[in-house]
Symmetry: C2
Subunit: 138 residues, 2 copies
């Protein structure tokens, strides 16, 4: 249960754009340098962010990226979900032999569902505007 660099990179990239919200677009190369992310890899991630409506692009010379919404309307959950997908569902071994009717219930499932919900609840309320405020001066 560890954090992928994918999600870390994504959060940092969006954060970089959030700091810049309202100004010009930022070139991907600039984000890459500021946050120490391989350019080509970042491009892949940013495609997903764009398709999820978190980020939008301006093409051509002087082009770049900017947020598609205000930082207060983008949560950390939006970014994580977009880059990592939801938690993998947990399936239990069917135990028909024992005459068990709760096919979809097992110890694992109960736990992971609670974990998933609790993460979501926590992270849904972290908006990028909060992060920018909290890290002002950085």
């Amino acid at each position: 249960m560890r954090v992928s660099t994918r999600a870390r990179y994504g959060v940092n990239a969006v954060y970089e754009l959030a700091k810049n919200y309202g100004d010009d677009t930022i070139a991907i190369k600039t984000i890459s340098e500021r946050q120490d992310i391989p350019v080509q890899y970042l491009e892949q991630l940013i495609v997903k962010l764009r398709k999820a409506g978190i980020v939008e692009s301006v093409r051509g010379a002087k082009g770049g990226y900017r947020l598609a919404k205000a930082p207060k309307d983008i949560s950390a959950w939006d970014v994580i979900l977009c880059l990592e997908g939801d938690f993998a569902p947990v399936h239990c071994k069917q135990q028909d032999a024992n005459g068990c009717s709760k096919i979809n219930a097992c110890a694992g499932k109960i736990i992971w569902e609670r974990v998933n919900t609790s993460i979501k609840n926590e992270v849904e309320n972290i908006m990028f505007s909060d992060l920018v405020n909290q890290l002002k001066g950085c």
Copy 2:
């Protein structure tokens, strides 16, 4: 951010022992069959559980495993932490150039710390006695 089979196997194995708490030991092969876990792989996991004081073993013929504590004293967090370790810490790129003093603060770090805490809070309160009760008849 997905659930490893390691943690799933571990939880299911401990659950199997919890159901049996107070009776004889269970052979690893039995657990393996009931929960559909490769025997030798389960052995590796159970070593960690033993070293963490969650499970204890009886060697030799008629040997096997049993819980080292009552199910009400073992939480899902105990098992997960033991098998997966804690969340990987997130380090930020140092931004001395900007005169930033909050070296250890970045968007990622704020988020992951909150995620970690929230998972821990949730899962610490799931005891195996609860799981056994909740899944009675299965």
